[in-house]
Symmetry: C2
Subunit: 255 residues, 2 copies
């Protein structure tokens, strides 16, 4: 399977073989393993490198003095934790692992080299940065305007589409290694209310959620229930229509 970062960026632009080679090199740098519930980065630390999630799920969060916690974002395979973050003196939030995580630490020299020599990759990384900002904005809308069932439905739509973008869905199903308490912290609801709301969504036939697997029998219906508009994910790639006649590009190393 191709590296999820390459797969994701391929949604924005068509990468050359050379581009892909650079990105593969990136994904091989300083690989680290993180255990479940361990922190990858902690608030107050000096950020050093940029972290690239190779496998597993992670999450960004902030804690208030009195213990309240908000999950601010989910990181899926192929996600980068903030390009150029090392410009800042210290982290203003933490990043933890939801599952065992494999990540690559990209030294800033490597990023600098890319900006100098690989303009197309640079642009794709900018696209990724802008999409992440858009996702964060959409979360603001989600928490500010949507009711409980809409919030959860919206989150599921987003995660499903993002996972599909990196090839981690199987038909209408995907993994969802998030506990109800974590869903609560991500949606600004209480765990009890998340539980009840999930039952509503199940009864409405909008989701099937068992174990750690989410199934979406009718994505359009779920999107409608969430007032979900996918435009903020910016998946409408330029030149996508050309891909049909473009088999030899797909004939890269794969299983």
């Amino acid at each position: 399977m191709t590296c999820p970062l390459i797969r994701k960026l391929g949604q924005f632009t068509r990468l050359s073989g050379d581009d892909k080679r650079v990105l593969e090199r990136v994904a091989g740098e300083r690989v680290r393993q993180i255990g479940v519930h361990e922190d990858i980065l902690h608030e107050g630390e000096k950020p050093r490198a940029i972290n690239l999630i190779l496998s597993g799920w992670a999450y960004r969060y902030k804690t208030l003095e009195d213990g309240r916690r908000q999950i601010i974002a989910f990181f899926l395979p192929g996600d980068l934790c903030d390009l150029n973050i090392y410009i800042l003196r210290e982290m203003d939030h933490s990043v933890g692992a939801l599952t065992p995580v494999t990540l690559a630490e990209l030294p800033r020299t490597l990023v600098d080299e890319i900006t100098l020599n690989h303009p197309r990759v640079t642009q794709a990384l900018w696209w990724d940065t802008l999409v992440n900002a858009a996702i964060q904005r959409e979360w603001t809308v989600n928490l500010g305007q949507r009711a409980a069932s809409e919030r959860l439905a919206h989150l599921f739509c987003e995660l499903f589409l993002r996972l599909r973008g990196v090839g981690l869905t199987q038909g209408d199903s995907c993994e969802l290694p998030i506990t109800q308490a974590e869903l609560a912290d991500a949606t600004g609801l209480s765990a009890v209310h998340v539980n009840r709301t999930l039952q509503d969504l199940r009864v409405a036939g909008l989701i099937v959620l068992k174990g750690k697997t989410l199934t979406v029998p009718d994505l359009d219906a779920l999107m409608q229930a969430a007032l979900f508009n996918s435009n903020y994910l910016h998946l409408d790639r330029v030149g996508r229509h050309l891909d049909a006649n473009d088999q030899e590009l797909a004939a890269e190393p794969r299983a």
Copy 2:
């Protein structure tokens, strides 16, 4: 008065005379006037240039199909609307003017020139981008975890500090050209509840809000009521301690 953008970036790094000259040139490009309640950018449009607010207040917002509206961010003088936004095919949100606004439209060529020839300015712009992302994250926390009075108090703290950063406070006061209905859309509350909550904050002596002027008699107290931690604004500039003995900075000891 110096341009607010220069003033803001000066919070992060010490700009050389040359750096400032470039930024002044930037602020003089294609200046436009926008009337109150007019839109500067509209969802669905192709973004062309980067907008720099020279004077006045603007706001980013998204609307759901059924009319609910969320204000996602406030733009103050010196703020840029998304570096490199023109990479995206279309806007996923709108930007409107809260007051009459003067802005400069920066063509991408100018941005490209800066990245090539002015590394220090480039870094400062990255800092600005990262801080904006941090602000958006903090809004997520605000909407997800804080109660009504905390939310409003937090918003006031943030706006006050940001305005102070560009020299737009007078002592413990600043302008606040936001109606209660707009505060409601920014905090995810109803206008009625905003009204009542503002009264609570007034009674508690935390704010004085009359006309379009906000006074904060005791900023520390307000910050405490909001569980406000300013670290996300990243105001701790490297080398700040040197500034005291450094009156004529324009001379710039090392370029």
